[in-house]
């Protein structure tokens, strides 16, 4: 497919000449760089509560964002109307950031290399609603059927299809079709007169709807949510204070996202406000840790063919054998730092300025047998699942909330404990990693990362890992 057959060319009649003109307007007052980001987003969602399909909704939003960079300054404007006069107006507003003669040298737009990490012929968003409603209903039935103590189930199925087009004054022209779907199940369980407890599970990715039939059927997420709720019914108070903590494989990789990932985003580092600033080449984690951010894994929620600045995503090594190797770069930071973009420029929508962001962040597998890791702990906490986390990138302190954890006593998981918050300091915590399992697992595809008010889908992953010292918040 070439540009003239691409979505925005066909549906809105946008030509290369148009794009070049808009970029010319954007640089009409000088400026070093300009880009255009066209977005057409179709979404739909279905929610089931009390076994009733209470809500079904769909819609469309579209627009274009225009950015101008002059030195370290950024001008930004957008329009939700794709008429030439509105786009030119947005370009002129963004141009105000620069004050000088127009930039005259023009780089012809050249189409970037093509690849497809998510070869989805029919996106879930383009299928009939009935099929998707049935998937959600299956999840509801399965969660309720799991155990008679399950008394409330909510299922949400949501998908979207995003069409993007990026053109830059550096001559980059790229477009992409990005399907995404997700199912999530929330189950509440209760003993006769007891306190209700909840369990949550979900997943998805950039797949055909068939993925929810064959790879991860609704029953998979439903039974997982119900199982977690039932486990919580028997949970004891969590211990408080410093403990040995073992993280299970998969979603607990959110630790890496908070403890390491955010602190390595180049915007914070070029400003010197991250706990990791100026530490490239230094040992910031145990030699057992190699941490990767990879936007190229087929079908994954955090993967993209091109980032939101038109650069191909790639596999970036953040930490190699404990040594800090590199930051996640977007166009602005890489221009200022003289670095190469790493395909990490992302934004929530055309209304937002791109920033360096993570894609799929995970730790490579080590050599330990997961069973052996648990056996090695005389007393500690095993965290199988987490609800989410947050980090203060300046101090490096991060938290994450366990949603399913167990006491380890004499090398054995003994009983489940209530949800607790774990807290640590990024550059310190990773030095206490003493064992890394051979069982790397990526999460099920449900992560959303928030930064400066912008949300983007991401993935995480981790093998079973032993951390010798971490503060556990306890309960009550």
């Amino acid at each position: 497919m070439s540009f003239s057959d691409s979505f925005f060319a066909v549906k809105f009649g946008i030509t290369r000449r148009d794009l070049e003109n808009y970029l010319g307007d954007a640089l009409s007052r000088g400026g070093d760089y300009a880009d255009l980001y066209f977005e057409y987003l179709a979404t739909s969602s279905i929610s089931i509560d009390e076994s009733i399909v209470k809500s079904a909704t769909q819609g469309v939003s579209l627009g274009v964002g225009v950015r101008v960079i002059a030195g370290e300054r950024t001008g930004y404007a957008y329009s939700d109307d794709l008429s030439p006069e509105k786009i030119r107006h947005a370009a002129q507003v963004a141009a105000m950031i620069a004050a000088g003669p127009a930039k005259v040298e023009k780089t012809p737009l050249e189409e970037g290399q093509k690849r497809n990490l998510y070869p989805v012929l029919t996106a879930p968003n383009e299928t009939g609603f009935k099929e998707r409603v049935e998937l959600a209903q299956r999840a509801d039935r399965a969660a309720r059927g799991y155990d008679s103590r399950i008394f409330q189930v909510q299922v949400t199925y949501a998908d979207n299809l995003r069409q993007v087009l990026v053109a830059t004054s550096d001559g980059v022209l790229n477009y992409d079709r990005q399907p995404l779907a997700r199912m999530s199940v929330l189950a509440l369980a209760k003993e006769a007169d007891g306190v209700p407890q909840q369990g949550h599970a979900g997943g998805g990715g950039r797949y055909e709807l068939e993925w929810f039939q064959k790879e991860r059927p609704p029953e998979y997420f439903a039974t997982e949510a119900a199982r977690q709720a039932i486990v919580q019914l028997g949970a004891a108070d969590a211990p408080a204070g410093e403990q040995i903590v073992v993280l299970g494989p998969g979603w607990p990789g959110v630790l890496l996202h908070e403890a390491v990932g955010h602190g390595l985003e180049a915007d914070f580092n070029r400003k010197g406000v991250s706990a990791f600033s100026g530490r490239i080449g230094q040992q910031v984690a145990s030699p057992l840790c190699t941490i990767i951010d990879d936007g190229t894994i087929g079908g994954r929620r955090g993967s993209l063919n091109v980032d939101d600045e038109g650069n191909q995503t790639q596999r970036n090594v953040l930490i190699e054998n404990g040594v800090l190797r590199g930051y996640l770069q977007d166009n602005l930071s890489s221009r200022i730092l003289g670095a190469t973009p790493t395909g990490s420029g992302r934004r929530e929508s055309y209304e937002h300025i791109p920033m360096p962001r993570m894609t799929n962040t995970f730790m490579l597998a080590g050599e330990s047998d997961p069973e052996e890791i648990i056996r090695s702990v005389p007393r500690g906490l095993y965290c199988a699942n987490f609800a989410g986390g947050q980090v203060d990138i300046t101090s490096g302190n991060f938290v994450f909330s366990a949603s399913e954890s167990y006491l380890i006593e004499n090398g054995k998981l003994t009983r489940p404990v209530k949800n607790a918050t774990l807290i640590g300091n990024g550059p310190e915590a990773m030095k206490h990693v003493s064992m890394v399992g051979n069982d790397l697992k990526l999460d099920e595809g449900i992560g959303v990362c928030g930064k400066e008010g912008q949300s983007v889908p991401v993935g995480v992953g981790i093998p079973t890992v032993r951390i010798d010292r971490m503060t556990v918040g306890g309960t009550a």
């Binding site: 969602s45 819609g59 469309v60 370290e72 947005a90 909840q198 204070g241 918050t421």
Partner: protein, 450 residues
């Protein structure tokens, strides 16, 4: 497209939906213009300016509901939106409680809520950039240990909302706000800390002075330097207003109708019972002029009101929209809230804890050994069970004085015990946003550290 053109579009959406077979319909349209300027280390960093709008429709065909939205307000875009919603009503299930508010529940406050100020639209860009620069400069000049900055920011927004339904409601209102903030970074040896301060108002004149915003932010960042972890122990915990607000956010999640009818709240079924210390009075009030949680009508066209949620420790009212009210056999409290997508959920208006009598200093002086919390991170609050466990930053209290900074610890309890274990409520209630709380002291919580 001007704001004045939007009510007619909303009416036409209702008409088209009725013609297409909807027994009831409602349409919400919002528009907005945003401006933001950020500066860093004295230089302009970003300038953003744009406007957008969107429409959403919810239709009922009997007891089935469908909804859709669009950012395309052309006649074709609107037609497509309406037909999408009609199609979707066919895939949902009959829900005996699905309906719009009754005609006698609809209406709009007639008082002037002072949500809109003309001065925001006319503010010169230079003035806004200058305010951000002055806030940041004041922070940088405050102390030699302020060595860096994430910047100063000025934001202003002008927005409007139009709502109409097939039961005869049509209303609209406009609002403005502006805000100014600074985020300085302090360093000392190996320790690096940031903090922030902000001011927000309906008009430019209502903002705190830029220099004072910068100084407060800097003072907060500097006092965090050299923070240590303390031993795990049970002590009194004081929440300053900025963090006490987050507690109210947790309580809102436990008193809104969806959590109640699903029994997904530790307060479900406790209406009329004493659930908190008798000094606690928690109010939701959408009628206070000029405040950020005020609006003439909610997102179903029901007028705003004042609803006591907890009165002197007794749980008086849930916060409800029409759907959850019908589920519970009650009346809506005018708390329907929605964006342009989906169905109405539940939101709060000005949701606040009534002030007590002691000043924050008096409260502090009464604590021999305790923790003064200035920031909370993480999401470790479970409003189903009431379990509470969050990361905390603050200052340790020794003999009634702020003694030394503390970080990398967590605080834990349950919301039930915290509500009943409130030891003091300050007299410093300050409406900085739609959730407001004075200083709050909890008698005992677990602080986990070393």
């Amino acid at each position: 497209m001007t704001f004045d053109a939007l009510p007619e579009i909303a009416e036409s959406v209702i008409r088209q939906a009725r013609e297409a077979g909807a027994t009831d319909a409602e349409c919400t349209i919002s528009n907005g213009e945003e401006f933001s300027a950020t500066v860093r280390m004295g230089e302009l960093e970003t300038l953003k300016e744009a406007g957008s709008r969107g429409a959403g429709v919810r239709v009922l065909i009997g007891r089935r509901m469908g909804s859709s939205y669009t950012s395309d307000l052309t006649p074709e875009g609107i037609r497509y939106m309406v037909s999408s919603a009609i199609d979707l009503a066919a895939v949902t299930t009959e829900d005996p409680h699905a309906s719009l508010p009754d005609a006698d529940e609809l209406g709009s406050l007639q008082t002037d809520l002072r949500l809109f100020s003309n001065d925001v639209a006319g503010l010169p860009t230079e003035l806004k950039i200058d305010a951000a620069k002055r806030a940041e400069a004041a922070a940088l000049a405050f102390d030699p240990r302020i060595t860096n900055s994430e910047g100063g920011a000025f934001d202003s927004n002008i927005g409007g909302r139009v709502f109409a339904n097939s039961r005869g409601f049509a209303g609209s209102y406009r609002w403005t706000y502006c805000s100014l903030s600074a985020v300085p970074v302090a360093t000392s040896g190996e320790s690096m800390e940031r903090d922030f301060w902000y001011t927000m108002a309906r008009n430019f004149a209502g903002l705190e002075d830029a220099e004072s915003v910068g100084r407060k932010a800097a003072e907060r960042a500097v006092r965090r330097l050299g923070a240590v972890k303390v031993d795990t122990q049970k002590v009194s915990v004081i929440f300053e207003p900025r963090v006490a607000r987050s507690l109210l956010g947790n309580l809102f999640d436990a008193v809104e109708g969806r959590a109640i009818y699903r029994q997904a709240s530790f307060l479900a079924g406790k209406l009329g019972e004493k659930v908190a210390d008798e000094r606690i009075t928690l109010i939701d009030d959408g009628t206070i002029p000029g405040l950020f949680g005020s609006e003439p009508f909610d997102d179903e066209g029901v007028p705003s009101r004042r609803t006591p949620v907890i009165e002197r420790g007794v749980f008086k009212n849930y916060l409800l929209n029409t759907y959850t009210a019908r589920k519970l056999g009650m009346k809506t409290t005018g708390n329907a809230a929605r964006g342009i997508t989906g169905n109405a959920g539940i939101g709060h208006h000005n949701f606040f804890l009534e002030a007590g009598e002691k000043s924050p200093d008096e409260i502090l002086r009464g604590v021999k050994n305790g923790f003064f919390v200035t920031e909370l991170i993480g999401s470790g609050v479970n409003t189903v069970t009431g379990d509470y466990s969050r990361g905390a930053v603050g200052i340790w209290i020794k003999d009634g004085e702020l003694a030394f900074p503390v970080s990398e610890v967590t605080i834990a309890s349950t919301l039930q015990e915290m509500l009943n274990g409130i030891a003091e409520i300050g007299n410093d209630l300050d409406f900085r946003g739609s959730i407001s709380a004075p200083t709050v002291m909890i008698g005992e919580m677990t602080v986990a550290g070393r």
